[in-house]
Every structure is written in C-alpha cells, then in structure tokens.
Symmetry: none
Subunit: 192 residues, 4 copies
DNA sequence: CATGAATGAGTATTCATTCAT
DNA sequence: GATGAATGAATACTCATTCAT
C-alpha cells in the first residue's frame, strides 16, 4: 500500500517535472525532494533516471497500441475505424498530456537501446495505422493522389502538437478537440 | 573571411550535433572538436553554449516572420494568402530541417529570458497567421464551426512534425511536400 | 543446525567473493545473494561487513599461532623445529589459500582497531618464529652473517606469495610444495 | 613546467595515499586536497581514478622489464645473470616501495582490461626470468630436483614481500638487502 | 585572436546499515 | 529469527566557463 504509493508518487512527480523543465534540467534530487522521499527510495524502485523516463514511453506506447488494436479488431468500415482511432489518440493524448510533452521532446535522452525500442514500437503503431489508410484507399473512400506517408504524417502531427497548445480545463473539452481535429483530418482525407 | 568561416562552421556544427544527439548530450568540447577549432575560439564568437542554441531559434523566427509578413503584404485573397503562407512554412522548415529538430525539442534548455523571447515571437507569428484565418472566415471561405485556435494548431502541427518523418533527398521533394500538406489543410479548412 | 549452516555458508561465500574480486568490490548484497539468504539474516549473524572480513584474519591467525606453539612445544632441535614450522605454514596456507589471498591484500580495509590487533598477533607469531632462528644461530646451525629480520622475511614471503601462483589440484601437491619451499629456505639458512 | 609539476604531484600523492590507506579507501577528493589542486585539474591529466592506479603498474612493469632485458642482454653466465637480476629487482622494489605496496594489493581494483594487461606483462617478465633458470639448469649450476615454477616463486616472493617489512632509511641499506636476499636465494638454488 | 590548463559547482549512483513488521 | 523497504552519507566523474599566456 505504502509501497505502491511511493513508486506511483515518484512516477507522477517525475513526469510533472520532466514536462515542466525538461529531463536534462531535472535532477534526481529535485524529484525526490518533490516526492518527499530520499534518493535511496527512488533507487530502490527504479534502477536509474533513465528508467523513470522510459516508464513514460512504455506507458503511452502500451496504451495507444492496445487501443488501436482493439479498434481495428472491430472490423468496421475504414472511415469509421479511422474516425474512432483518431479520436482515441487525441483523447488519450490529452489524458496523458504531460507524458506527451515529455514523449516528443526527450527521446534522445533515453539510452541507445531504449531509443531503438521506442522507434520499433512507434513503427509498429504507424504500420497498423497506415494499413487502415490503405484499406480506405482500396475501398475508394480515401484519396490516392497523395503519398500514404504524407497522409499518415498529417494526422500524427496533431497529437504530437497537442502539448504545445492545448490546455486541459480550458474552453475546449477533450471530446470536442478529438472530434474537431478528426473532422479536419477526415475532410482532407476523403476521396474527391 | 577566416573569421566568418569559423563562426559559420561553429553554427553549422552545433546545429548538426544538437539535432542528432540533443542539446544536453552535446558538450562544448564535442562541438569544437567537430568544428576543428578550440574552446577559446568558440568563446571568442559566442558568449555561451546557450548563445549557440538561441542563434538557431533566432534564425528560424526571423526567417519565418519575414516571409509571412511579405506574403500578407501582398494583399491577396485569404485562400491564396493562406496557401502561400503554408507552402512557405513547409518549404523553409524543410530547408532548415535540422534547425527544426532542435527548435521543437530544446526550448526549455534556453535561459528563462530567451524562452520568454521565443514565446513572444512565436505568439506574434501565430497572431498574424490567425488574422488570415479570421479574414477568410469573414469572407465566407473558411469554416466557422471549429474554434480558430484548433484551426491554427491543425496547421502548425505539420511543420512541427516534419523533422520526425521527412527525409530531404527522399522520394518526396520539398515542393511536393509543401503542396500536399497545404492541400490537405485547405481541404479541411474550407467552408462547407 | 540450520543456524550454524547459515553462518558457515555466509563465511564461506564471503571468503570466496573477497578472494575473487576483493573486499571493496564485493557488496553485502552480492554475498547474501550468493549465499541464498537475505540481508537481515547476515546482520543477524554478523554485526558488519567488517566482521566478515575480520573472521578470516582471526581464523588464520588462531590456526597458525596454535600450530607454531605446538611445534615449538615439542622441544626438538632448531633445524627440526624450523622444518616442521615452515612445512606447517605452507600447508595450512595452501589449505586456506582463499583466506590467504584476502589476508595479504585487505588488511587496510579492516577498522583501525582490528588492524592493530592483526598487527599485534602477527608480531607475536613473528617473534616466536624469530626465537627459533636465534636458537639455531646459538646452536651454530643457522648462519649469522645476515640480519635476523632478513632471514625471517625470506621465509614469510613464501606463504604470503602462495596465493599468487599456487593452484590447489595442480601438479604440485601441498606436501610437495611444503617440502620444496622449506628445503630451499633451509639451504639458504644453514651456517657455512 | 607548472604542468609537469601538477601531474607529477598528483602521481606522487596518489601513490602515497594508496600505499598508506589502500586504493578503495582513498577518495579522489583526498588526493586533490593533498596535492593542493582541484578535481578538474586531476581529470584534466587523468581520465579516471583507475588511470592513476594503472600508472603505478605501468611504471613498475616498464622499469623492471627494461632492466631485466638489459641484464639478460649482456650474455653473462647464468649464475651471474641471476645475481644481477635478483639484486636489481630488490633494489628497484626498494626504490619504488610505495608503488610496490600498491602493486601487490590492488590489482583487482583495476578495470578488467587492465588486469589482463598486467597479468600478461607479468607473465612475460616471469617467462624471461624462468628462461635464465632453465639456462642455469642446462649449464649444471642450478638444481633440477625442484619444479621450475617453485624455484621462480621462491624468488618472486621476496620483492613482493618487501613492502611488508623493509623500512627505507633503517639499518639495512638497499644494497645490503639486495645482496643478502639474493645470497639466500642463490644458496637454495645451486646444484648440489 | 587563440590556446588549453584549471576551476568548482553540479550530477547520478552506490551501499552498508537500520528497523518496523 | 528473518524480511526487505528505506535511509543518508559518500563517491567518481562531468562540463560550461574563465584567464594567464
């Protein structure tokens, strides 16, 4: 009980600090001070500062991969699959907006091995997403005059950019942001 | 002559290294070694490592602000202004793709003062861009059912994301990328 | 029964690790892992890591002191006493070769107090050994042209050095090594 | 000039401290405090604490290898070669007695790579020394009834043990110690 | 202009030991 | 008796920056 709290508290605190001031400018000392524990406790639960960072990547990658897999598994029409997938990514990105701020800025601070792992898992996600685009093209509902990687990049850029402009608790709810960004994307995507 | 070369070489080398391995993981020693000069030389031309980083921000902000101002100054219809502005941002972002990789990842490594300056200048750029969107809405050519900040974010995310997926020298030319991403954006943007 | 086994197992394991990788490079965690117990168990039987080390010194010093006292107590001629004493030291050093490896390398890792105790007990041993040399000189069987401390050092160096070159289970048995090194020593020692 | 002094001072100071209190118990901070410089200065001249230690090994191994090679190169009779070699080792070991105290106690504190290098170079030295023993046996001047490795170990133990008992500036000069230990060794070595 | 030796404040990490359970 | 989570003090090492030459 206490144990879980400490580990979770350290995870929460480190995301917060990494998002606010960057991984490099956040010292282990700051993290443990903010979490109200000692360095020894941190190193009891995490092997290194790098582990703290990787946990963030792992959490997001696992979550988004699981959701996309589930959505694709429903075997809906391509347009509907795409709508659900896009809205889900936007909403989970908003739910994890601090993690997202770290995710896109700090990849090069991971160890080489873990950078590779993150690349691999993002590629997997990208491949699954792209497969839906291809299906929609075959079905004649998505445009074919623009390279598929451009179509994919045009969407991925949105969740990526969220942490730079979206404020949770502002005038735009997560559902609205998801619906609006998805609508804009699908408008561009549809076959003429 | 020699002087200019050394300063330029240091700028070029530092962008390269910052883009590849991140600002924090790049030491001043690595930069001077790669540039073939000594620390003394670097500190002759730059006051600090932070200056090397800020130069990158300054270069991009200056370039894009100047281009946007020029395009808006032509007083073309909103759709045409937007098309030119978007294509220009994409193309200059591709031309400065290494700078871009640094730009979006390393802002929190700048000194507080300079973070503020960068924020201010980006806001200025954003405001000018948004003004074009507003004009298009008044003219009845841009949709009004989605908050303007979402419409803006939907575009800014694209140049932002370029350094994560676009390879100069690949199968897609800078002009093609610019035309395609702009087309996708404008398709979403148009009034129904 | 179980208790004795755990304590003995910890002693055995720690000698092994100290000999192989040095006292300083061996962590308490490594010891308990290798012994298959937990830290709590170790600290139940030993007050500190230092105790684990001192036990090794105590064991060897006690053993060699007891053996030398017994041999001298037989009141044999000096040459015979010396031969038995030397052979015994060599053989017990081979029997405790891992302890020996630690003994000569890790004395300064002991607490100050215990370093003093080890020095004192080694001096006692040295004095008893030297007394035999003096008796042999008085009897006219040992040479007198070389300072007695050089004569003593010339022997003590041998058991000291054993752990650096001797392999138990190799082609030279413990009895052979003892006989040969003793023969070489006595050859140098005899009065001309 | 100043530069050499600082590097030499650091080398001198570190040998002194390593000999007195052991490598593991000597902190880099202690070394720089004793040498009157800062950590930065130390790390300007040495890449790591390990380098400071290895320098000691390198110095001794280089010195003794060079001397032995020179002595063997004179092509003197085996007995004479052996006498000169033994006396030289004893004397240089006395000259570098603090280095010697470190040499035999701290090998396992070196990095794995360097432990291997030290082992290799000591083996080379041992092989050259053993070759002289073999030559003496062929010439009929050295005994053949004891394995050659025991004959070698019987000598190597002496310089090894020096730092445990010999006091420079005491009643026994370096030349005397060298002559006496060599005499004792040769007495044991000669063919009967 | 340019050097590179030297600084010193900062960093992540280790580890013997304790103690509530 | 035994656990292992937590401590806290110590450690080696890094690096942007300065300055005498």
């Amino acid at each position: 009980m206490k144990t879980l709290n400490i580990k979770e508290e350290l995870a929460r605190t480190s995301v917060e600090l990494f998002a606010r001031q960057g991984y490099a400018k956040t010292s282990v000392q700051q993290i443990v001070d903010a979490a109200g524990v000692t360095k020894g406790a941190l190193y009891h639960y995490f092997n290194s500062k790098d582990d703290l960072l990787f946990d963030i990547y792992d959490r997001i990658l696992t979550l988004q991969h699981r959701n996309l897999t589930e959505i694709i598994g429903r075997n809906l029409p391509a347009v509907e699959t795409m709508r659900l997938a896009c809205e889900d990514v936007i909403m989970t990105s908003i739910d994890c907006i601090r993690e997202g701020a770290v995710f896109f800025r700090s990849q090069h601070m991971l160890s080489e091995d873990r950078q590779e792992e993150v690349k691999r898992r993002r590629r997997e996600y990208n491949d699954a997403f792209t497969a839906v685009l291809v299906r929609g093209q075959s079905d004649g509902v998505f445009r074919t005059d623009i390279p598929i990687q451009v179509l994919a990049a045009n969407f991925f850029s949105d969740p990526h950019y969220l942490s730079y402009w979206y404020s949770p608790g502002g005038t735009i709810s997560r559902e609205q942001a998801a619906a609006q960004l998805t609508a804009l994307y699908l408008a561009g995507l549809q076959a003429s």
